[in-house]
């Protein structure tokens, strides 16, 4: 099985550690994952803002980059949703029968990470270790567009050392919404502030989700509030082990770093 990592533009440019975590995780599970270097973006920012013509060349780049793979795995529910449900709209708009055909090939082969792990590889215990108090936010597109259901939860429950806490009103949108976060910034922030409040109510030290874009938004609010809660992509927790913990305990301070008496 030829497996391609679709890292997504957001992870590529802003959160490379998530991409590396997927590579570590999949290799540990015996998958020889490739990174097609011609990939760029799924075109969702254009499509969801109404720029369909602008999305056409981006979708073309996508299908060219991923042609021939048996599975395209991505650590993003939103981008998987875009490839599966929106590329067809863009291809239709282009009027190019070849692109329509190419999209029909790549769309059903695109998997969100937890779908690939649970449905294709058939694993829920990925051998991870993460001894921290964690709460999970199901992102809207993974939940309602893809229907990943409890797959992320199944995976998290098998992580050794983890203390999972339920997030109140978990299924409510965090308010990111792509360009919504800027076009309707006030409403987006109001939603984000409520989500952050629910996260803080759990007492978790880490908020985990399957989409870094949503986490960038909620994490941005949590940081501005000096809440002391950090955000992490699910892949990074699943990649973490006793030998290679993702959150290593900080080294003891040296004399020079100690606070002045």
């Amino acid at each position: 099985m030829r497996v391609a990592l679709m890292v997504t533009c957001v992870n590529d440019a802003m959160f490379p550690e998530t991409g590396k975590a997927v590579v570590t995780l999949l290799r540990r599970l015996g998958v020889d994952v490739e990174f097609p270097a011609a990939q760029t973006c799924c075109a969702q920012p254009m499509v969801n803002t109404g720029y369909l013509d602008e999305a056409v060349p981006v979708v073309r780049t996508f299908v060219d980059a991923f042609a021939g793979y048996d599975a395209i795995v991505t650590p993003s529910g939103s981008c998987a949703g875009s490839a599966r449900h929106q590329h067809g709209i863009v291809a239709k708009r282009s009027g190019d029968a070849g692109l329509v055909q190419a999209v029909a090939e790549t769309a059903p082969k695109t998997y969100e990470l937890t779908e690939f792990l649970v449905d294709v590889l058939g694993v829920t215990d990925v051998g991870a270790y993460f001894p921290h108090r964690v709460t999970y936010h199901p992102t809207c597109h993974s939940l309602r567009m893809l229907g990943v259901g409890d797959r992320p939860r199944q995976l998290l429950e098998k992580v050794r050392g983890i203390r999972l806490t339920d997030l109140p009103k978990a299924e409510e949108c965090c308010g990111f919404g792509g360009t919504f976060a800027v076009k309707n910034a006030d409403t987006s922030i109001a939603m984000g502030a409520d989500k952050a409040r629910h996260v803080r109510d759990t007492g978790a030290e880490v908020l985990v989700a399957g989409d870094n874009s949503c986490l960038m938004h909620i994490g941005g609010v949590l940081s501005r509030q000096r809440s002391g809660v950090r955000v992490m992509h699910l892949a990074e927790i699943l990649a973490s082990t006793e030998d290679a913990p993702v959150l290593a305990a900080p080294a003891a301070p040296t004399r020079a770093q100690e606070a002045p008496r």
């Binding site: 992870n11 990174f35 969801n48 060349p57 309602r144 501005r224 959150l247």
Partner: protein, 496 residues
């Protein structure tokens, strides 16, 4: 006597004002929370027995079939209504419909009409049109009275005064009722039963006095020429039976071919709207029944943009809407901004698609509506007739953008997306852009003073379009020095 949505600012501006209203935020969060919980319980109950999804599919199929043969169904409806003694009028738009109702009222020298709660008469601004001709239109639904007496605007499809709490309602009743009829009783409290009692007393004289009533219809059954109104309070039944003359304004998408097809719709509607298994009152009437009820019955079949919506391949599913308002109650945007921010009698997710579909895109306020959503999909999940609202929103956004493709001066956003498309359609260009962002990241990491929990450097408040809006309340992580693709290339996929 009520306000108007004309001249409302675009959604982001209106929303900003609404978000600052703490009382509104509290009222909405409480009220939508209560309705959501009631609905979920009943959906779960149906799920156990015959399957909610099957019922939704049945409802959607009924409406789709009815819309596919719209012309046949409407002509049959007209024929059966006429045969049953009703007068059928056709109205292309709001002005034509209003003129018909005004003319009927004037024929009977009516100075006032009583009204059943109706979205379509709000859509066409009937009350204002009647008022302009010196005819008072009295709303009789409790929530509508609150809105009307408060010189307010509706903010919800089902519960138009959802933005008001009981203390505010009591104040409105005490202040306003006496000015237009029977005053509120002495010592009125804000107990719901007491408030409803005051409204009942106030309305009674209007019901008994009115010669003309105006209604909408939830459904129109073509095979028998029967109109259907569902309601909770019995005020509708009073309006539909007491006056001599009844005028019903009905959107052409309300027609269903036969009684059998009402079945799934009448099961879906109350569960999705009020969270009840069955609505307390279902009134049906077929033209004129001699000696019983109104002896002069008019039906105004209204287009007002519906055929435009029907012509839109993606958007036409919005005509399946049965005005239940479940999408409003689950919408995280609506819950925070309330209905007024949408600048229309149709607020919330359904309003964000219905308004542009009925009116057409092109003005700034209407064009802002498809963007008033985070595309979270909660509305589609709740919709009893499976309207894929996010799909239609995205489709309408493309219509908004396409409407500006010939602008002589492009919007900054359009230029930015053209640039993004250029960069994102070629990996080499993207790689170059990432080197730039990596450089910015290094500068930020060196000199920035904000640190995310966990230690990563971040930007605090920064100026510039977009950036300022993001960072007004959210820190922004500094870009990493090395992108994923650069790391993959440098380390050969992490192997060296």
């Amino acid at each position: 006597m009520s306000g108007t949505f004309v001249g409302m600012p675009a959604f982001p501006t209106a929303a900003k004002a609404a978000l600052g209203d703490t009382q509104l935020r509290h009222n909405l969060s409480h009220a939508t929370g209560v309705i959501r919980a009631k609905r979920s319980k009943l959906v779960a109950e149906v799920e156990e027995n015959l399957g909610w999804e099957d019922l939704r599919l049945a409802g959607a199929a009924v409406k789709d079939r009815a819309l596919r043969d719209l012309e046949t169904n409407l002509v049959l409806l007209e024929e059966r209504l006429s045969a049953a003694g009703a007068t059928v009028h056709w109205a292309r738009d709001a002005a034509e419909a209003n003129a018909i109702v005004v003319a009927v009222a004037k024929q009977h020298a009516a100075e006032e009409v009583v009204k059943v709660k109706s979205m379509v008469t709000q859509e066409i601004g009937l009350n204002e049109a009647l008022e302009a001709e010196g005819i008072s239109a009295w709303e009789t639904d409790l929530a509508e009275i609150i809105v009307q007496l408060g010189h307010d605007l509706p903010s919800h499809i089902l519960v138009p005064a959802i933005h008001r709490n009981r203390a505010e309602i009591r104040e409105i009743f005490i202040r306003e009722m006496g000015l237009v009829g029977k005053p509120a009783p002495e010592g009125l409290t804000d107990e719901p039963a007491a408030l409803a009692g005051a409204a009942r007393e106030h309305l009674r004289e209007k019901f008994l006095r009115a010669k003309v009533a105006v209604s909408g219809a939830n459904f129109a059954v073509a095979e028998t020429g029967t109109l259907v109104v569902v309601e909770s309070e019995g005020n509708g039944r009073m309006c539909l039976t007491l006056p001599d003359v009844l005028v019903s304004v009905v959107g052409i998408e309300k027609v269903v071919p036969s009684w059998t097809e009402l079945d799934p719709l009448l099961r879906l509607l109350p569960r999705s709207s009020t969270g009840e298994r069955m609505n307390p009152y279902t009134s049906t009437w077929t033209g004129v029944t001699p000696g019983d009820g109104p002896q002069e019955v008019h039906v105004v079949l209204l287009d007002n943009g519906r055929t435009n919506a029907l012509a839109d391949e993606v958007g036409r599913q919005a005509l399946r809407c049965i005005r239940c308002s479940a999408c409003l109650n689950v919408c995280p945007v609506y819950e925070r901004t309330g209905g007024h921010a949408y600048g229309s009698v149709y607020p919330g997710p359904i309003g964000a698609i219905l308004n542009p579909l009925l009116k057409g895109t092109g003005d700034a306020q209407t064009d802002s509506l498809p963007y008033a959503s985070s595309l979270c999909g909660a509305c589609f999940e709740a919709c009893p007739v499976r309207i894929d609202i996010p799909e239609v929103l995205v489709h309408l956004r493309s219509k908004v953008v396409d409407g500006h493709r010939d602008d002589t001066v492009s919007k900054l956003e359009a230029v930015a997306f053209k640039g993004a498309a250029y960069v994102l359609s070629d990996a080499k260009r993207l790689s170059l852009a990432e080197r730039g962002s990596g450089l910015a990241g290094r500068v930020l990491s060196r000199f920035g003073r904000t640190t995310l929990p966990g230690g990563r450097r971040a930007a605090g408040r920064i100026p510039g379009p977009g950036a300022a809006k993001w960072t007004s309340a959210r820190d922004l992580p500094a870009p990493p020095a090395e992108s994923f693709r650069a790391w993959w290339k440098r380390t050969d996929g992490g192997t060296k």
